[in-house]
C-alpha cells in the first residue's frame, strides 16, 4: 500500500453507488495534508455528504480506497477512527445538558472526572459558552447549539474534524461570525478540517484549499484565489464568484493566446488559452465583471466590443451594469462610482474592452 505519511487523508479513485445503477461519486481523488482546512464545495446533490459519510465510516465506498493516517479505513470501525464530526442538524443529545454533551466523548474514553471537567470547561470557554453548561440543547439558540456541536467535535482532540454544512441553518450575520470563529479555532488548534458547504463565499473566506464538486467528480482542487482567478473549466468559473460568459469558436492559436470568433457577430477577440483543444473548437470565454473596462482609450486593450446598456443597478460603491454584447444579454459590468465617472443611460451604446490575460477560453 503506497501511502504518503504527510497526508492525513487520501481518497483514491473512490466510487460510490447507492442503488447499483447510478454513481453518486464517480472518481474522487483528494489528498489532505495535516493541519489543512479543505472545503468541498458543490451544488446540492453532488455527493459531498456521501464523501464525508464514507470517511466517517457510515457509508462504505463501492470501490476505491480511503486512507486515514496511513491506514486503509475499511478495517477501522467508525468509533475507532478518532474523527470529530459536526452534523448539519448538530445532533446534540437532547437528554443531556451542554456540559454532559461535551463530556460524552471523554467519558467513553474513560478519562478521570477532574480531567473531564477541566477539558469541558476549556472547550466551553473556547466557544464562549461557559455560562450555558447546564442548559439543555433545546434551550439554546441556533448559533449557540452550533458552537456546542463544534466544541463537542473538538473536545476529544480528534485527528480530523468533519463539518457538514454546519452553518446552513443560521442567518447571514451569524453565519459570517461563525465562519470567523471556526477559522480561528482551526488556526489556534491546528486541527485538520474537512468542511462541506454549498455557499461559495463561505468556502472562499475559510479554506486553505477548495475542492469544487459537481456531478460526482472534483472539477478543480485549488486555493481560493487560484479558483477565482484561474478556473480551469466553465463550471468552476461559473460556480465561483460572478462570471460573464461569451460563446464562440476558436479560429487560431498562437502560444497560449487564441483568437475567438464570437457568436452573434461580436467580432474577433483574443483570450488566454486554458481549456481548448485546437482550432475549430467551440469555447466559453470567461470574464470577471470587475475586469471589464468601459470606454477604453484607443490602444489601451486589444479587445474591443460594442455593447448596449440594458439595466443599471446602483450598489453604493459601484453600479452593476447589465449590457448586451454579441447576443448575450446578461453580461455584467461593475462600474466603480468614482467622481470622474460619467453617467451611463439605459439604451446607450458604449464600448467595452478587456486585457487578453483576463479573458479565459474554457470548455464549451
Amino acid at each position: 500500500m503506497d501511502s504518503n505519511p504527510d497526508f492525513l487523508v487520501q481518497f483514491k479513485n473512490v466510487q460510490k453507488s447507492y442503488d447499483g445503477v447510478h454513481l453518486v461519486v464517480k472518481d474522487f481523488n483528494v489528498d489532505m495534508v495535516k493541519g489543512e482546512f479543505l472545503t468541498m464545495l458543490g451544488p446540492s446533490g453532488s455527493g459531498k455528504t456521501t464523501c464525508l459519510m464514507m470517511l466517517a465510516g457510515f457509508e462504505t465506498a463501492t470501490s476505491g480506497q480511503i486512507i486515514l493516517d496511513g491506514q486503509s479505513i475499511n478495517n477501522v470501525a467508525p468509533h475507532k477512527r478518532e474523527i470529530g464530526m459536526v452534523f448539519q442538524n448538530y445532533a446534540l443529545f437532547p437528554h443531556m445538558s451542554v456540559a454532559e454533551n461535551l463530556a460524552f466523548p471523554l467519558q467513553v474514553r474513560k478519562m478521570g472526572k477532574s480531567e473531564i471537567t477541566e477539558k469541558v470547561n476549556h472547550a466551553l470557554k473556547m466557544v464562549r459558552l461557559d455560562h450555558f453548561a447546564n442548559r439543555r440543547p433545546a434551550q439554546l439558540s441556533g448559533g449557540q447549539q452550533q458552537r456546542v456541536a463544534v466544541a463537542r467535535a473538538l473536545v476529544f482532540r480528534p485527528k480530523l474534524v468533519l463539518m457538514d454544512e454546519p452553518l446552513g441553518a443560521l442567518d447571514k450575520n451569524l453565519r459570517e461570525e461563525m465562519q470567523y470563529e471556526i477559522k480561528h479555532i482551526h488556526e489556534d488548534l491546528g486541527v485538520t478540517m474537512l468542511y462541506v458547504t454549498h455557499d461559495q463565499v463561505e468556502a472562499l473566506t475559510m479554506s486553505d484549499r477548495i475542492a469544487v464538486f459537481d456531478d460526482g467528480i472534483v472539477q478543480q482542487l485549488a486555493s481560493p484565489h487560484v479558483l477565482y482567478d484561474e478556473p480551469t473549466n466553465a463550471f468552476v468559473a461559473n460556480f465561483i464568484g460572478e462570471n460573464n460568459r461569451l460563446m464562440g469558436k476558436v479560429v487560431s492559436i498562437e502560444g497560449d493566446v487564441c483568437s475567438v470568433e464570437l457568436d452573434g457577430g461580436g467580432g474577433l477577440v483574443q483570450a488566454k488559452k486554458i481549456n481548448v483543444a485546437g482550432v475549430g473548437d467551440r469555447t466559453t470565454l470567461s470574464l470577471r465583471p470587475e475586469r471589464v473596462i468601459v470606454d477604453p482609450a484607443a490602444g489601451e486593450c486589444p479587445n474591443n466590443c460594442e455593447a448596449r446598456v440594458e439595466e443599471l443597478i446602483y450598489h453604493g460603491d459601484h453600479t452593476r451594469t447589465r449590457v448586451s454584447v454579441s447576443g448575450s444579454t446578461d453580461f455584467i459590468i461593475k462600474v466603480p462610482n468614482t467622481h470622474n465617472q460619467q453617467h451611463m443611460k439605459r439604451g446607450q451604446s458604449i464600448r467595452i474592452g478587456w486585457n487578453t490575460g483576463d479573458c479565459r477560453a474554457l470548455d464549451a
Partner: protein
C-alpha cells in the same frame, strides 16, 4: 392618545370599549363554532362514558334500601342511644314497615342489603315480615322478639341504624377485605375470607409483567419498523396491525387451541421428545395463559407509540455518538434508548392501564389462578347482583389507574408523550 386609555393601565379600542371586551366579542362567534364542532363528541362521551362511570361509582356508595323501605324504623331510631334495646315505638315502626314492605313486595331488597352486612339477615327480615303482617295489636316488642330473637339483640338494631343513611362506605370497606364490626369498628376480614386485596395485587402484578414483556418484545420490532426501508417496514407494520383485524375472541381461542394440554404446542413438544406424554405442560387456564394471550393482544399498543417516537429520531444521533468514540452498545444505551423514553412511557401507560381492566381474555383462558379484578366485578354484576360492591371495586380500580397515571405524569410527563 386620549381615548386609548379609559382607566389607568386599561387598554381600549378607538371607540372607547375596553380592549378585552372587544376582543371577546369578536371571538365569540369563532368560539361558538368551535363548540358546535366538538359538541357531538362531547355529548357522546358524556352519555357513553362519563355518565356510566359516575353512576357506577355512585352505586358503590349509595344506600337507599333501608332509608326507603324502613322509613318509620329509621325515624324511631333517630333518638335511640344504641346501648339498650330500643323502646316500643321502634318495634311498632318495625311492624308497620315490614307489613308495608311485604305488601309492596320490596322487603326482599332491604333483606339482601342487610344480608351483605351480616349473613343471616335475609332470613331474619323476610321471616319477620311474613309473621309481622299477622300481628293484631301491640305492644309489639315482646311479640317481635318472640318471632325472631334477633330483634332482642342490640346489634341488629345498630346495624339498621348504621345503614340508614343515604350513603354508606361499607361496600368500599368490603372491597378491600375489611368489614365493619357490630361495634362499628373497621377491621380486616379473617384471612380465609380475604379475596379482593390479593386479586388487586395479582391484577397489578400481572399487568406489570405483561407491560415488561411487551416492552421487551416491542422495542426491537419498533426499531426495525423505524429503520427498515419503506417497502419492508410497511409489510412489517401490516403484521403488527394484523391482530387488530381479527376478532378478540378468535385470537384468544386460538391460544387455547395452541396451548391446551393436548394442544398444538404440547403435541410438538411430545413429538420432539422434549417432554413425555404424561408430563404435558399446563400453559392455559392459569396465569401463564392469561399473560401469553394478553401480551399478544396488547403488543400493538406498545409497538405503535415506540415506533412513532423512533421514527422522529434521525440517524445522525447514533452516528454522532459513534463518531465521538462510543462503541455501538454504549451509543445505543446512552443515546438512543434515552431518546425513546417518552415512547416507552406512553406504551407502558397504555398497556398497563388496558390490562388492569382487561376482562374477556382472562375470563376465557385465566382458569382459577389467572382471573383479574375485572372478572370479579363482572361476577358481582351478573351473578351475585351485588352492584354496590361491583361499583366499589370499579371505583377502587379507577383510583388505582389514576394513581398510576399521576405517577407516569410525574416521572415522564404526559404532555411529552407520543401516543402513536
Amino acid at each position: 392618545m386620549a381615548n386609548t386609555y379609559s382607566k389607568v393601565g386599561e387598554m381600549t379600542t378607538n371607540d372607547g370599549v375596553p380592549l378585552k371586551i372587544s376582543l371577546q366579542r369578536s371571538q365569540r362567534k369563532l368560539k361558538l363554532w368551535a363548540f358546535l364542532l366538538v359538541a357531538p363528541l362531547l355529548i357522546f362521551i358524556t352519555i357513553s362514558f362519563i355518565l356510566p362511570v359516575v353512576s357506577m361509582t355512585m352505586r358503590g356508595v349509595e344506600n337507599p334500601q333501608v332509608a326507603n323501605i324502613l322509613p318509620n324504623v329509621v325515624d324511631a331510631l333517630y333518638v335511640w342511644d344504641g346501648v339498650d334495646l330500643p323502646d316500643e315505638a321502634a318495634y311498632e315502626a318495625l311492624v308497620i314497615d315490614l307489613t308495608a314492605g311485604r305488601k309492596n313486595k320490596n322487603i326482599g331488597k332491604v333483606a339482601s342489603r342487610l344480608n351483605y352486612e351480616r349473613s343471616g339477615m335475609r332470613r331474619v327480615i323476610s321471616g319477620s315480615s311474613r309473621k309481622a303482617a299477622k300481628l293484631k295489636e301491640g305492644p309489639y316488642k315482646e311479640q317481635m322478639i318472640k318471632i325472631n330473637k334477633a330483634w332482642g339483640d342490640v346489634t341488629t338494631w345498630s346495624l339498621i341504624k348504621r345503614e340508614s343513611g343515604a350513603f354508606t362506605y361499607s361496600y368500599l370497606v368490603a372491597a378491600v377485605d375489611y368489614k365493619i364490626t357490630d361495634q362499628g369498628d373497621i377491621v380486616a376480614k379473617s384471612e380465609e375470607k380475604q379475596i379482593y386485596k390479593s386479586l388487586f395485587g395479582r391484577t397489578l402484578m400481572m399487568s406489570f409483567t405483561i407491560t415488561i414483556i411487551c416492552i421487551l418484545l416491542a422495542y426491537p420490532i419498533a426499531y426495525l419498523l423505524a429503520t427498515l426501508p419503506m417497502a419492508k417496514s410497511n409489510l412489517l407494520m401490516i403484521l403488527v396491525l394484523l391482530p387488530f383485524w381479527t376478532s378478540l375472541l378468535v385470537r384468544t381461542t386460538t391460544w387455547i387451541v395452541l396451548l391446551q394440554s393436548n394442544g398444538v404446542l404440547n403435541d410438538i413438544l411430545v413429538w420432539m421428545n422434549i417432554i413425555d406424554d404424561s408430563g404435558r405442560l399446563q400453559m392455559i387456564y392459569n396465569q401463564t395463559g392469561t399473560i401469553i394471550a394478553m401480551t399478544h393482544i396488547l403488543l400493538p399498543f406498545m409497538v405503535l407509540p415506540l415506533y412513532s417516537v423512533m421514527k422522529t429520531i434521525p440517524p445522525s444521533y447514533m452516528r454522532a455518538a459513534l463518531s465521538l468514540g462510543a462503541n455501538p452498545v454504549v451509543s445505543y444505551v446512552r443515546v438512543y434508548i434515552p431518546m425513546t423514553v417518552t415512547g416507552i412511557g406512553a406504551g407502558s401507560l397504555l398497556v398497563f392501564i388496558l390490562s388492569i381492566g382487561y376482562y374477556i381474555t382472562p375470563a376465557l383462558v385465566g382458569g382459577q389462578s389467572g382471573v383479574l379484578i375485572s372478572n370479579m366485578i363482572a361476577y358481582h354484576m351478573q351473578n351475585s347482583l351485588n352492584w354496590g360492591l361491583a361499583g366499589a371495586l370499579g371505583f377502587i380500580l379507577l383510583v388505582i389507574v389514576m394513581i398510576f397515571y399521576a405517577i407516569f405524569n410525574k416521572v415522564i410527563g404526559i404532555d411529552k408523550m407520543k401516543m402513536g
